[in-house]
Symmetry: C2
Subunit: 389 residues, 2 copies
């Protein structure tokens, strides 16, 4: 990363904390995600204090960086894995197999068999065929049935990709038993970035009713997995994590009688605020003398780590060396030759008018769902680098 | 890739050609793009026969696989590079620097300097700041100015990310001269997947008028770069490549008098049909007894190579072992825990009812814009593998 504007008198980014101070001044040769693992630890303690008796299964997919996993293992966290690759990673760093759930409802038969041989005992499912695969390749395993959520107040409600409806779920509990599996209970996901605890209420009501229906049908359920949805700060107010988690647990305890075990799977809410991306301005331009918007091109885009800007869903916050000076609206885009590689256009971003090629830019709260989304070498650009301080 | 349904009596995919025959039967341990470089060569000859005196600059970003680049170098192709990484790759395989254009309008100053030192002499630009960077770091270089296209008949017209309007372009020709650069002419892009040659006409009219305006203003232009847009077959009829290219050239010759040099940058049109992805069915399910659509989950999704299904833009064609049997509508999704990882939902796909976990599936004409879009390890899944036969 060259800083064309660098020099003794060049303006500096005003860093908000230790993480930003490092990201603002260190030398990087390409866009880099900088992680502060102490902030992950602080967030873990805050969530844990609110979640009480629930087990935290960190959603590894949010950020599988070794430093994060090692710290969480030391703190006693459990893990939710999406694939064989994530399980192998957790085990290689010292996580115990009994603390890892294989939470993807879509698994290869060979990966189920491998996980079973590695000591994994808890698997997610939402379909007959998945239960058959688990019974065949992990005989006697424990399963939880993923429920579909029809009501969500999340910023990004999930699609119908995961889960099944009430009648199917109740039937699958029987199917699991018939296949020699142990159906533990249910899981669900309230939706990504559910900003306030009270937003959980309609979903918990819906899920609690299915829990009750299963008990009424004679199923002795002991586990409820409340999934993720724990928010990160992207400019819109969110509740503090301890208070948020405590309020969610209060609502959960009231709706799932008999749940001896409660699992929670924070991902974004645990690691997003522990990361900042350092990148640089590649170019600023106007397409026409008549255009009111500038275009600002960054060295990182949708295909090199910022995939969650699709549909302008996440509005990341930026820090630049010119903050405090006059600003203007700009369309923000990535560096590739792909015309879809545009971050914010429908709702342009306000950035300093003084911004120019070579200026370093920090993208705040980017610790989740960035580094692993990065493409291997789209347009010949190397993937997002990651360093932990 | 395990084939749960494999066996002596298991149905086989009916392969349409040598490429598919290999992809249908070879052993793969993960989703794999199989390339037939002879088909790239055949397509190169077909396009070249129609393009006549125009130089083909293969858009490396479409697929930078070594076997493709080596074959194209042997055939005398030139190259359009999007980054320092792509230039380094082409040079390392024996391409001559004078045959490589640095066609991304968004370049780091340090990469311009590096390219200049490596012998690259032709650069794209669409803004003052870019010309200033080129003049500072590649003094005396040749440049072409990228024009914005307002009228397009392409399946996917490009956004306004690249190019500038007429007045800006004419002004930039003067700026380039004042900076000591050599302005050669213009480039534009008609839009991706322009299925018929006659669809180019309004764009060529628009670009030709700007060419004429520049000549009227006293600019002695010698280069027109007509970009890409050459189509691949994704189920909708396209014109044959030789005839298509010849008709485009006929229209180009009529509109750009004085263009001693013509560049064309096919990417997709050169390599898409030379590739097929082999993957497998992970799971089939229904969310509810009342749902009319099945869900079919593949071992590859939007984040592992099929990025161009975003917005259901590309409708890939599939081959399965059960083709010819009864079919039904299904929603097709990828294997990750990301709910956005859904390929076709708004318009479901017809697939055989007999399809089950473990079945191999071929995805046709996937040689372009797949392997490099693949994420490094999203959800712990390794990137799309690539083999050339």
């Amino acid at each position: 990363m060259t800083a064309a504007n660098a020099g003794a008198s060049a303006p500096q980014i005003r860093a908000a904390n230790r993480l930003e101070a490092f990201a603002a001044t260190a030398e990087f040769d390409r866009p880099t995600l900088v992680l502060d693992v102490d902030r992950v630890e602080a967030q873990y303690h805050a969530l844990k204090s609110g979640l009480g008796r629930a087990d935290i299964h960190y959603a590894v997919k949010a950020n599988p960086h070794r430093a994060i996993l090692e710290r969480l293992i030391a703190l006693g966290s459990h893990f939710d894995a999406a694939s064989r690759g994530e399980i192998e990673l957790c085990l290689s760093l010292g996580a115990k197999a009994e603390h890892i759930s294989f939470g993807n409802t879509i698994k290869r038969a060979a990966d189920i068999a491998w996980a079973h041989s590695a000591g994994i005992t808890v698997f997610a499912a939402d379909a007959d065929e998945e239960l058959e695969k688990i019974a065949a390749h992990a005989p006697g395993a424990s399963v939880y049935i993923r429920l579909i959520v029809e009501t969500s107040n999340a910023d990004w409600p999930l699609t119908r990709k995961f889960g099944c409806d009430r009648d199917t779920a109740l039937r699958l509990l029987d199917v699991a038993k018939d296949l020699g599996l142990t159906p533990l209970g249910f899981s669900f996901h309230v939706g990504s970035q559910t900003r306030r605890a009270e937003f959980w209420e309609p979903t918990l009501d819906e899920m609690g009713a299915i829990w009750q229906a299963a008990r009424d049908a004679g199923h002795d359920l002991g586990l409820i997995n409340i999934g993720g949805g724990f928010p990160a700060f992207y400019g819109e107010a969110i509740q503090a994590p301890a208070e948020y988690a405590a309020r969610v647990m209060e609502m959960v305890e009231a709706r799932f009688p008999g749940a001896a075990k409660i699992m929670a799977e924070p991902g974004r809410g645990l690691v997003a605020e522990a990361g900042v991306i350092a990148c640089e301005v590649m170019l600023t331009s106007r397409k026409s003398e008549r255009d009111v918007h500038r275009w600002v091109y960054l060295s990182i885009g949708r295909f090199s780590g910022l995939a969650e800007t699709e549909g302008e869903a996440i509005r990341y916050e930026f820090a630049t060396p010119h903050d405090g000076g006059p600003t203007g609206p700009c369309i923000l885009a990535g560096p590739s030759c792909d015309s879809a590689d545009v971050l914010y256009e429908k709702r342009p971003t306000q950035l300093p008018l003084a911004l120019a090629a070579g200026d370093r830019v920090l993208i705040r709260n980017t610790g989740a769902y960035t580094s692993t989304y990065s493409s291997v070498c789209f347009n010949g650009f190397p993937p997002l680098d990651v360093v932990a301080i």
